[in-house]
């Protein structure tokens, strides 16, 4: 038998630690209460904001409560008033009849000695007081205030209700107007010591020999009070039930309305996520069914339009592809013929030879324009796809620099590269990125006025970047966002010198966007401009910040930070984000 002793020990040990756990300090208690209140309040606020249903139910219940309270108070008051005035009326009638019968008994009294008078007074009072034990009335017979004769008959009380419970005001009123009943509401204490309202009615009786006496009838209102209590309790219960009922009704009604709205929201969500076949259930003729039907009609027309757009886009893609083939084949022949003529221009007249040269360069320009236009329309048709490959950006940059070296030499621009210390690997489409960099470099060389161009590489946690900075003409305020617009030129009056198509930066912008990267520009007139390409290292991992500065301000703060601490990538803000 081990179990009991173990039980006892367990109980004891619990008891031992109980005080510390059960009675926390007052401070922690209030803190806990406060935090509980706080979280409840927040929960309530959240529900209030998030749920239409909750809001409707709570406001309906509040309104119901107010109405029930007002109505209940009013009715209660009316009932209480009615009960009291009824009681006063019957009390007056009873009091009048008892007073007159007492008067007639006193009048017809034969013996007028003090003892028999007193005996008679006791009789009269005993008779006037209720015969039963229900204590429905008390009677007091006392000397009138202005009766200054010898007190041959003492004050007679039907029970332990004392004379002091008769208010002085009432006595004064009887003294002033002895021919009428005087009524007043007072508060007496019942046999249990609980204060009870009562009606007191006073009238004058004349005793033989003893003279003027006052006779008081006290009718306690305890029954009425009990009735009122019952009524009040019933009202309260009824009110609570009514408010709950109103709440329940609101719940059901809002449920009927909110449910379809929620379903509509769900279906709309699915539609917007691309499931164009989703429809609402629409049965019957009511408003909800109408909502469902018009919602479905909207979805139908959306689906139709999207289909049409898709068809259009397919046609467009097809067209681009066909144009591509149809234009390219004759262009190839022209190109071959042009080159052949160009190669033998030495044998021609000077004017024909010059024509051959012009033909040659313009074929080049035509070809690059065609290529760029086709590339742009491929982006527009959504037909451009990435061919991703883990690539070291240093190699890509190097190749882009080599491809523009001839142009740079021609313009006298020196290309300075600041590479990263370590590798700069990212999942990119090397052909597209090289094209972006080539475009940025050509742009920098063309607008760099022969001054050096700085190419900087950067890498951080989830992004790689290349910036191309020139010290040329720069960009006027507002132009940073325009440079990526198709066929946009900073100064239309400026002669086009190197035969760019005007589409290079626009294509680069689209290429960067295809990579989910950024291509941003900054520039200041006379200071120069900076183009920064930032690409995610892995697809689907968004760029938080670029590893390289874009504006000189950022450059300075980056340098300051680099001096202050170890190297850390600098966040970039401002500029035209793509």
């Amino acid at each position: 038998m081990v179990t009991p002793s173990r039980l006892v020990r367990v109980t004891l040990s619990r008891l031992a630690i109980a005080p510390a756990r059960v009675v926390p300090s007052l401070q922690t208690l209030t803190r806990r209460t406060r935090s509980a209140l706080w979280s409840t309040g927040r929960w309530f606020l959240h529900l209030w904001r998030a749920s239409l249903q909750f809001r409707v139910i709570i406001s309906t219940m509040l309104l119901g409560l107010i109405v029930v309270l007002l109505l209940g108070t009013y009715l209660y008051q009316r009932i209480a008033d009615g009960l009291v005035s009824d009681r006063i009326q019957t009390a007056r009638a009873e009091a009048a009849s008892h007073a007159s019968s007492a008067q007639s008994r006193f009048d017809s009294a034969g013996r007028t000695d003090a003892v028999s008078l007193t005996q008679l007074a006791f009789d009269v009072v005993g008779q006037a007081a209720s015969p039963g034990a229900d204590q429905s009335r008390e009677v007091i017979l006392t000397r009138a205030k202005n009766n200054t004769g010898p007190a041959s008959v003492p004050t007679v009380l039907s029970s332990d209700v004392g004379l002091p419970s008769v208010p002085a005001k009432l006595r004064d009123a009887i003294a002033a107007d002895p021919s009428h009943q005087q009524v007043q509401l007072i508060s007496i204490s019942s046999s249990e010591g609980v204060p009870v309202s009562a009606v007191i009615i006073g009238s004058r009786v004349t005793l033989p020999v003893a003279g003027q006496y006052e006779m008081y009838f006290i009718f306690p209102l305890d029954r009425e009070q009990q009735t009122l209590q019952v009524v009040g309790r019933t009202f309260a219960l009824g009110g609570i039930a009514l408010v709950l009922l109103v709440g329940a009704v609101a719940f059901v009604v809002t449920r009927l309305v909110v449910d379809p709205v929620r379903r509509a929201a769900l279906v709309a969500q699915r539609l917007s996520s691309g499931r164009l076949h989703e429809r609402m259930r629409a049965r019957g003729e009511d408003d909800i069914a109408k909502l469902g039907k018009s919602f479905n009609a909207m979805a139908d027309s959306l689906q139709k339009q999207i289909r049409q757009l898709e068809d259009l886009s397919r046609v467009q893609q097809r067209f681009v592809s066909d144009v591509s083939h149809e234009l390219r084949t004759p262009l190839t022949t022209i190109r071959l013929a042009g080159d052949l003529i160009h190669d033998s221009r030495g044998d021609f007249d000077p004017s024909v030879a010059r024509s051959a040269e012009l033909l040659h360069t313009e074929i080049d320009r035509f070809e690059s324009l065609l290529t760029d236009l086709l590339e742009i329309s491929r982006f527009d048709a959504g037909a451009a796809v990435l061919d991703l490959e883990a690539t070291d950006l240093r190699h890509t940059t190097q190749r882009a620099i080599e491809s523009v070296a001839a142009l740079a030499a021609l313009r006298g621009s020196r290309l300075e590269v600041i590479p990263t210390e370590g590798p700069c690997v990212a999942e990119i489409d090397p052909r597209r990125v090289e094209r972006i960099l080539r475009n940025l470099l050509v742009n920098a060389i063309e607008h760099g006025e022969g001054r050096p161009v700085t190419i900087r590489l950067g890498v951080n946690q989830n992004a790689v970047a290349v910036s191309v900075r020139d010290s040329g003409v720069g960009l006027r305020p507002g132009e940073a966002g325009l440079v990526f617009t198709r066929f946009w030129r900073a100064d239309p009056a400026r002669a086009r010198t190197s035969g760019g198509t005007g589409l290079g930066l626009a294509i680069s912008h689209d290429d960067a966007r295809l990579h989910e990267g950024w291509l941003q520009a900054w520039g200041e007139p006379g200071v120069g401009s900076c183009f920064r390409l930032t690409l995610p290292r892995r697809t689907g991992v968004p760029i938080e910040r670029s590893p390289l500065p874009l504006t000189p301000d950022e450059e300075r703060s980056a340098a300051a930070q680099a001096q202050a601490t170890a190297y850390r990538p600098v966040s970039a803000s401002g500029g035209a984000e793509t």
Partner: protein, 225 residues
């Protein structure tokens, strides 16, 4: 000996122009205007290289390419106006060695053609061993356990380039320059597609290559013996 070029293209102006350019380079030119007769003319003229347009009336270029490849390893250079990746890859996978995008410069085309013809001019007696393959460079044959494997000249060149320096990792760009003769960077998809084709012929399990191994982020190398 003059090399012979077969040009299969339905655009007569372009074919004629190509003929002029190539004849100026000292090559013999045979023209063919549609896909249906291409095979007959191919068998009859026995060209050293085929220039093939992808879009042809009759039988399309990809099918012609497949049929030529089925019976010979003659170098095929595709002429294509399509820049879409899928078209290019489909052409390469059907057996073309190289492709030129229209519009191209004459020098560009000639460089491609010369690069494909060049290998037949360099007979050097040399024997290489990589994995369980033995390569006879002069005899243009690859043998596993004495049984010859059938490779196209380009695939053979690719394998030889890798096998000559088994310790070296070749980037795609370097392979493009050495095997295809590109001066500047070209389309690295060429390398990817041909490495796949080569593996399908020489690897015991092409899914887990042991002879031509990918070095992630860099390129390819001939695997350890």
């Amino acid at each position: 000996m003059k090399h012979r070029v077969l040009i299969v293209d339905d655009d007569l102006a372009l074919s004629e122009m190509l003929g002029i350019v190539l004849r100026n380079e000292g090559l013999d030119v045979v023209l063919c205007a549609d896909g249906s007769s291409a095979m007959a003319i191919f068998r009859e003229s026995r060209p050293d290289i085929v220039l093939l347009d992808l879009m042809l009336p009759g039988i399309d270029g990809i099918e012609v390419c497949r049929r030529i490849r089925a019976e010979s390893g003659t170098p095929i250079v595709m002429l294509t106006a399509r820049t879409d990746t899928l078209d290019v890859v489909a052409g390469l996978e059907s057996g073309a060695d190289d492709y030129v995008l229209k519009p191209f410069k004459p020098q560009e085309l000639i460089a491609r053609v010369r690069a494909r013809l060049r290998r037949s001019d360099e007979p050097e007696p040399e024997g290489l061993q990589i994995g369980d393959l033995s390569i006879d460079v002069a005899g243009h044959s690859v043998k596993r356990d004495g049984k010859p494997l059938s490779l196209t000249p380009l695939e053979f060149d690719l394998l030889v380039a890798l096998a000559r320096k088994p310790w070296q990792v070749f980037t795609r760009e370097v392979l493009l320059e050495q095997v295809w003769g590109y001066r500047h960077a070209g389309d690295t998809r060429l390398v990817n597609v041909h490495v796949q084709r080569l593996r399908s012929k020489i690897e015991r399990d092409p899914e887990n290559p042991e002879i031509v191994v990918t070095v992630r982020g860099v390129g390819y190398k001939a695997g350890p013996a």
